[in-house]
């Protein structure tokens, strides 16, 4: 045989052994796993893992809109117990005819009890497994278990796990950066981790006699969970405080501010360009912080008699918005200082960046310094648009203040 034919024989053999048959995995052998829920099990040191898995057959019939037949849900939530995730999965795999595939996991839920026990010794697999990325949205289920949260169906999203992620984005939060934020905070001395929370609530709030469809519950955003040492849940903040928190950190995407202008009327400003920054100042051993918040936006609602075509009136509105925003943000910061004494805003991190040498002296006892720290807030709001009317159309000419 000539040289050429030897080489071609070798190449042909290579085709046979490089088909990758060892790792061939057909789509219909895979259970697409969209969300993971973590709860504590009944026994000590046992956890319960639940997963939301796509049911592809039901998904098709629903999007076709033909009704009939595929009336079932397009997802299934399965759960199993074990010492850790791997063991739970092993126990769980028995019910699944397909291999669980985590490449599409987008959301993770932690039950409140589980979060109180601490995440530090549990969630390593989230970043060790080569299939799942660090880009994940994480929620703590306030007042309930992750399993219950994952059983909630959603009228818009199918399968529903995506709903929490989308709602989170709509609310102007951190979205799927949360898990990375959690990891970075866990690795830093100057900031404490936080995770947004969801809760199970009724679709129609306040309608006590609701029946049928109106009585349904839904998963909705609830605010923020604050974590302390060893990644143990320390407490909750509500939705407004959560926005203040994100604003201080400079992570907020959307926000509307509603303030009462005088005793009887109120005004709303929807912000688009939002910035937040922490500026530390160290004199001797005294650390003071200035939080600089700024935003631009448009007035969407102005229930008073001001003609906001006028420059002074706009300025008056801005002043009043700034003043009340400042008070609210300060109240949130003070609440965190008093109630938790945990630096979730990253004030310590800002000291670390600006005064790295002095930081080394205070970092071991930073939470204590933070609780005592003197923090002031500067708010700078700009009204750029006022909408389709100048003064409100509901006021007579004589009532309008120019």
């Amino acid at each position: 045989m000539s040289k050429g034919s030897i080489v071609s024989v070798i190449l042909c053999i290579q085709i046979i052994i490089t088909t990758g048959c060892w790792d061939s995995m057909e789509l219909n052998d895979r259970a697409l796993w969209l969300a993971t829920g973590w709860d504590i099990g009944e026994k000590e040191d046992e956890i319960q893992i639940c997963g939301q898995i796509v049911l592809p057959s039901n998904m098709q019939s629903q999007s076709g809109g033909s009704g009939g037949g595929g009336k079932g849900e397009s997802f299934i939530a399965v759960s199993a117990k074990g010492k850790n995730v791997q063991e739970a999965l092993e126990n769980q795999q028995g019910m699944l005819s397909r291999e669980a595939y985590f490449g599409h996991r987008r959301v993770t839920f932690y039950g409140e009890e589980f979060a109180r026990h601490g995440l530090k010794k549990e969630i390593d697999i989230n970043s060790r497994s080569p299939n799942v990325g660090i880009r994940t949205d994480v929620f703590v289920v306030k007042g309930d278990t992750a399993l219950n949260a994952m059983n909630q169906s959603n009228p818009f999203e199918n399968p529903p796990a995506i709903a929490a992620l989308k709602a989170h984005r709509q609310a102007g939060g951190r979205g799927d950066r949360v898990y990375l934020d959690l990891l970075m905070a866990a690795n830093s001395e100057g900031i404490r981790p936080t995770i947004p929370t969801v809760e199970i609530g009724f679709i129609q709030k306040g309608n006590k006699e609701a029946k049928g469809e109106a009585k349904k519950t839904i998963l909705k955003l609830a605010g923020l969970a604050v974590f302390g040492p060893d990644l143990k849940l320390a407490g909750f903040l509500n939705m407004d405080e959560n926005r203040d928190y994100l604003w201080v950190r400079g992570d907020l995407q959307k926000k509307s501010i509603t303030v009462s202008f005088d005793d009887e009327s109120n005004t709303s400003l929807v912000l688009s360009k939002i910035k937040g920054k922490i500026i530390p100042k160290m004199e001797g051993n005294q650390i003071t912080f200035t939080v600089k918040l700024s935003g631009e936006g448009g007035i969407t609602e102005n229930n008073n008699n001001l003609d906001i075509n006028m420059r002074e009136n706009v300025r008056t509105l801005e002043k009043s918005l700034e003043k009340q925003t400042k008070e609210r943000v300060l109240a949130t910061i003070h609440k965190v200082q008093k109630e938790f004494g945990l630096d979730i805003f990253g004030f310590g991190e800002s000291v670390h960046k600006k005064y790295p040498h002095k930081w080394k002296k205070v970092k071991t006892d930073w939470d204590h310094y933070f609780a005592e720290a003197n923090i002031s807030v500067n708010v700078d709001l700009k009204i750029r648009q006022i909408g389709m009317t100048g003064p409100s159309l509901l006021y007579k000419e004589s009532e309008i203040k120019e």
Binding site: V7, I17, W22, P130, I134, R135, M184, K353, K354
Partner: protein
């Protein structure tokens, strides 16, 4: 077998980018924290110095390879000893890289495929290019792969920009200090120092006098690109998280999400890495076979390709047998022996002694 100046540029560039990015980022961040860009800067300068030294040394005898002229310069026995030192380094590094290759592909792509299959496929490819193309084949391959690697790296860096948080790089210098920065720079330096292969490569060039310029440019552009990509890891993950990741670059690329549409790009990273690795391996492969042939005075160096293939297969099976051998190889052999002896001390000695000999020859040519 002749290669052009442009091919030297692309060989240098392509062989350095892949493995340096994959392997050196974690240890560099572990020591230098967020100041690792300074480490990479130092390593880049050091790498350029090394390749400059290597080409200058090789230019003393532009018609001969390292194996030959080390005998001219040091005399027979010391020359053979230093040639053997280089061959040990080449044989083991092929085995080590192949082991890393199988481990990486096993983790990221094909978890169930047996290692020997992965090894065999890439080895057959290497044998093929070495046998059919020789050093010329490697040069032409790198002319094709080099630009692909370059463009993909730039593209990936561009996609990462929305994820960057610039303040992760602060505070500068305060958390690490000079010693730790230098310690961190050893890893990238030892990988950029693989450009010391110019000691051998130069003899294959059609215009050896171009060698220094082209090789230095190759190392320089690789170093710049590596530094940009490596520092983007810090900007995305911060030093705390990234120092614990096994393949921080892959994780950074996996984190890319442009408009919820362009995601899961790590497969591009794998592609870049395999292309770069292929250039590096094939270069080592050809030079090892060629060098062994010259050491033992075997006329047909191609026969030795099979020897190299078998030895590197066995070594690779050994290296991929444990998750920790790769790092131990770097800690106990690569840094203390290869980086100091093969990349710095021997080239320096060769250059000093060689230049002295040349001068002596020039002053009294009768002794020739």
């Amino acid at each position: 077998m002749k290669i052009t100046g442009l091919q030297i540029y692309w060989i240098m560039f392509a062989m350095l980018v892949g493995n340096t990015l994959l392997i050196t980022v974690t240890p560099a961040i572990k020591y230098a924290k967020q100041d690792m860009w300074i480490s990479y800067l130092i390593a880049g300068l050091g790498g350029i110095l090394m390749v400059f030294l290597a080409t200058k040394t090789a230019l003393l005898y532009p018609k001969h390879t390292l194996i030959e002229y080390s005998k001219f310069i040091f005399g027979k026995w010391i020359g053979i000893l230093s040639a053997i030192l280089y061959l040990v380094y080449w044989y083991t590094v092929i085995g080590n890289i192949l082991g890393e290759f199988t481990e990486f592909v096993n983790i990221i792509l094909l978890p169930n495929t047996p290692q020997w299959i992965l090894l065999l496929t890439i080895l057959l490819l290497l044998v093929y290019i070495a046998y059919m193309g020789g050093i010329e084949g490697v040069g032409r391959c790198s002319e094709v792969f080099g630009p692909i690697i370059f463009m993909s790296c730039i593209l990936l860096i561009a996609f990462t920009i929305p994820n960057l948080q610039w303040d992760h790089i602060l505070p500068v210098y305060a958390d690490s200090g000079l010693y730790l920065i230098l310690r961190g720079s050893l890893y990238p330096l030892s990988f950029l120092g693989e450009s010391v292969l110019m000691l051998m490569l130069l003899s294959f060039m059609d215009q050896p006098d171009q060698g220094t310029r082209r090789a230095v440019w190759g190392v320089l552009s690789a170093a710049v690109l590596i530094n940009l990509s490596a520092v983007s890891v810090i900007f995305v993950f911060g030093s705390g998280v990234s120092s614990k990741l096994k393949y921080p670059i892959v994780e950074t690329i996996r984190y890319i999400n442009v408009m919820n549409f362009i995601q899961n790009l790590e497969i591009v990273a794998v592609l870049i890495w395999i292309l770069s690795l292929f250039i590096k391996l094939s270069l080592y492969f050809v030079l090892t076979a060629y060098g062994t042939a010259q050491l033992f005075h075997i006329r047909d160096w191609r026969k030795l390709i099979w020897v190299v293939a078998v030895i590197s297969f066995l070594l690779a099976m050994f290296f991929s047998g444990s998750a920790t051998y790769g790092m131990e190889y770097i800690e106990y052999y690569w840094l203390p022996v290869v980086l100091t002896l093969n990349m710095a001390v021997i080239p320096l000695l060769l250059w000093i002694v060689g230049s002295l000999r040349k001068k002596k020859q020039a002053s009294n040519p009768s002794n020739g």
